[in-house]
């Protein structure tokens, strides 16, 4: 076993166990909020795969989240297919878009990559507005209640039930988290990190880095799509705001806060940011100011983010 892998695995399982246990003790509001946070944290996990482990900073992930959101939402709305198929369709949409964008955007790197992804995402955003005949553009649409009941055999899911939502969200997050953990510890993960550290050198070790970056982006896209699809199906709203730039910046913020290139960082970042805004907006309408300051202080004082700092100071075995 590689040093720390055992410990790390235990930690991850423990975190998931705690999250599972929390649903029995959390007060109603936080119980419901956690369902949302877990879905968004999954999105952040997908984002972190790219930024944290491949070193590619995308400013356009909103289009991938939205691809899942609309892929699932539109299918359920207009094709009258069931929630599960809608979810799969959402994942595929995210995956497909990521591949297409990747084939083009990955020819660039650094600042250029950021801006290219930003541009693609902007185009995607405008597209959701342009086809408002089906998307209802900025207004968006809500899913028919029927689409939110789902049965496998005699197993019946009611997506309007908070308990069901919590556990499905947890299931999604658990899957994404463990997937990213496995990937990071795999030979493939090692190559991705190598690309992040020094791409030309990685090429000279015989790796077709473009292919690996494309794979990373595809994985990131699939996870982001899954998160988007889950968001649409669990919370029943599909609208173009989710394709706007803001939703490309949020995962960046969450990941930076939690710790770039740490598997658990995205969860911590998403959680803290949600409650930061939730709490502050109670005292002042100027919570954007706090968000802004948080970002600035973060890069100034904790460039590694929370877990990143912990790893550097205390626990080098953290994945």
């Amino acid at each position: 076993m590689r040093s720390g892998t055992g410990r790390a695995l235990l930690l991850h399982l423990a975190v998931l166990a705690v999250l599972f246990g929390l649903q029995f003790v959390l007060p109603d509001y936080h119980h419901r909020s956690f369902a949302r946070i877990l879905v968004l944290a999954s999105y952040a996990v997908g984002y972190n795969l790219l930024l944290g482990y491949t070193g590619l900073l995308s400013l356009g992930h909103a289009m991938l989240f939205a691809a899942g959101l609309y892929g699932a939402g539109l299918a359920v709305q207009h094709l009258a297919i069931d929630a599960a198929s809608g979810f799969v369709l959402g994942i595929l949409s995210g995956l497909a878009l990521a591949l297409v964008v990747g084939l083009v955007a990955l020819r660039t790197s650094g600042v250029a990559f950021m801006i290219v992804t930003l541009m693609f995402s902007q185009a995607a955003f405008l597209t959701t507005l342009y086809f408002s005949a089906v998307t209802r553009g900025d207004e968006g649409f809500t899913l028919p209640a029927a689409a939110r009941q789902y049965a496998i055999g005699d197993l019946f899911f009611d997506l309007t039930d908070p308990g069901t939502r919590y556990n499905l969200a947890l299931l999604l997050f658990g899957a994404c988290l463990m997937a990213s953990f496995a990937l990071v510890r795999s030979p493939m993960g090692r190559v991705l990190v190598a690309i992040r550290e020094n791409e030309p050198r990685t090429v000279m070790l015989g790796y077709h880095t473009f292919r690996y970056k494309l794979l990373a982006l595809a994985a990131s896209g699939a996870i982001s799509g899954a998160a988007g699809a889950a968001y649409a199906l669990l919370f029943s709203y599909v609208g173009s705001t989710f394709a706007s730039i803001q939703y490309s910046i949020l995962p960046l913020l969450w990941v930076l806060l939690g710790g770039v290139g740490t598997t658990l960082g995205p969860l911590i970042g998403t959680l803290l940011m949600f409650y930061l805004i939730d709490t502050i907006s109670g005292y002042t309408s100027a919570y954007l100011l706090v968000v802004g300051l948080a970002l600035v202080l973060l890069v100034l004082l904790f460039p590694k983010g929370i877990l990143g700092t912990v790893r550097a100071k205390a626990a080098p075995w953290l994945p």
Binding site: Y29, S240, T241
Partner: protein, 438 residues
């Protein structure tokens, strides 16, 4: 979750015990009109408040409206509380900012229901926030009163807990104007509208309505939401246009009007616009001279009219708006007069629904009663509680239908030249909420 549920029930039932004794007083307060003020006031203080969650656009694109929604609502709440509150209980307004964002909107509704434990939620303006929040409200069985003028509620695509009793929906507004426009301004209409859902509603419903009046659409000019300059679109206006119908929203509108003026100069077609463009904007702003002589839809005349009703006077005074529609003492701070009245009127509708239904606390039973009481309502009479005017309420659509006003810009102020009848704005219902389970 089981144990939490019982906990909640426990709390509820104890509260019910407490309230048992109060129901009499509550009933009494229903007649409170007969009682002298101090006693009513004392009662209102004495009893546990009705908590109303106010989903407010404090930040984001809706902030300019949000400000005035807040002032109006506070004024209405003070008015109601001073008059004895709702069923003898004072209103407690709990405000949460939704950042004019549908995601945050839904979260805020959950927060109201589960953390603030409010009795109902109210006050949302922007359509995407309404639609984003509605499903959550439905799942929480949380009565959700929006003041948005969107067609979403009346489309019956939302759910049984969502109501819009304080303001007419855009479809009704638009079709009620068509007859007058066709009859007085012209039959060949070119529409300029933002290229997203709000604009498309106007495009679809008005095109249809004007054709029913024997008019025709000369041109349709959609403008992308990210646009900041409009001059280059004006050449697309067909020369034979008799009426130019514009409904721009967002911070770009002054530019729009100004550039329209520069483009046409003196020889222009008739121009008809939606005041949405210029809510919170001073008609006397530099560059708006071009609006002189053009027409606007208003839900409620911003400038006090000659035939001003005493209710309007009282309403303006309570909210703090002068006869020009600006904040008393700050002529630059112009109100969103054609929308914010909806908050005032909605709160009164809530008051009566709660009292009529005998609503006590946020139990499914009481909420059910509240919803049914609302759906049973049919009309609101013009008066202090409904200063904008009488309204029909369609319980199947959860939507109110009121009169619309057409005003002309004369001497840098808006003068009402026509009031539509409620009937002008009625249309074939698209569905029926009352068939949905509660």
């Amino acid at each position: 979750m089981a144990m939490k549920k019982t906990g909640a029930q426990g709390a509820a039932s104890t509260r019910r015990k407490v309230l048992k004794g109060l129901t009499a007083a509550a009933g009494g307060a229903a007649l409170s009109g007969l009682l002298p003020t101090p006693i009513r006031y004392f009662e209102a203080r004495a009893q546990s408040p009705i908590k109303i969650g106010f989903q407010l656009h404090r930040t984001g694109i809706g902030a300019a409206y949000g400000r005035w929604y807040e002032r109006t609502s506070n004024a209405a709440v003070k008015m109601i509380n001073d008059a004895g509150g709702i069923a003898g209980r004072p209103i407690e307004l709990v405000i949460e900012d939704d950042g004019t964002d549908p995601k945050r909107g839904a979260e805020v509704v959950e927060k109201f229901a589960t953390e603030h434990k409010v009795d109902l939620v109210f006050g949302t303006l922007f359509s995407h926030v309404v639609i984003g929040s509605a499903p959550t409200a439905g799942q929480l069985k949380m009565p959700y009163f929006v003041v948005s003028e969107g067609h979403h509620v009346a489309s019956t695509k939302l759910n049984r807990y969502v109501f819009q009793p304080g303001i007419t929906d855009v479809r009704s507004q638009v079709i009620s104007l068509a007859p007058w426009i066709a009859g007085n301004l012209g039959k060949k209409v070119t529409m300029i509208f933002p290229d997203f859902a709000f604009g498309h509603d106007h495009r679809d419903y008005f095109s249809d309505a004007i054709q029913k009046q024997g008019g025709s659409i000369a041109g349709l000019i959609p403008i992308p939401p990210t646009e900041t300059s409009f001059t280059r679109y004006f050449p697309q206006i067909p020369a034979d246009t008799e009426v130019l119908y514009h409904v721009m929203v967002g911070p770009g509108v002054l530019t729009f009007v100004k550039e329209m003026g520069e483009h046409f100069g003196s020889k222009r077609p008739q121009v008809f616009g939606f005041i949405d463009s210029l809510e919170a904007v001073d008609i006397a702003s530099p560059g708006l001279e071009f609006l002189e002589g053009t027409y606007f839809w208003e839900a409620y005349p911003r400038y006090a009219q000659k035939d001003q009703t005493p209710h309007d006077k009282a309403y303006r005074q309570a909210v703090g708006v002068d006869e020009n529609g600006a904040a008393t003492g700050d002529a630059k701070d112009v109100s969103t007069y054609s929308h914010m009245f909806g908050c005032w009127e909605t709160l009164y509708v809530i008051k009566h629904a709660v009292e009529k239904s005998g609503y006590q606390s946020a139990t499914d039973k009481d909420k059910k009663a509240l919803v049914e009481a609302l759906e049973a309502m049919t009309a609101f009479e013009e008066g202090p509680e409904h200063p904008q005017g009488s309204k029909q309420f369609n319980g199947k659509l959860h939507q109110a239908f009121g009169q619309q006003v057409i005003s002309k810009v004369e001497g840098k102020r808006l003068n009402a030249v026509h009031r539509t009848s409620i009937e002008d704005g009625l249309y074939e219902p698209e569905g029926d909420y009352t068939t949905q389970p509660l």
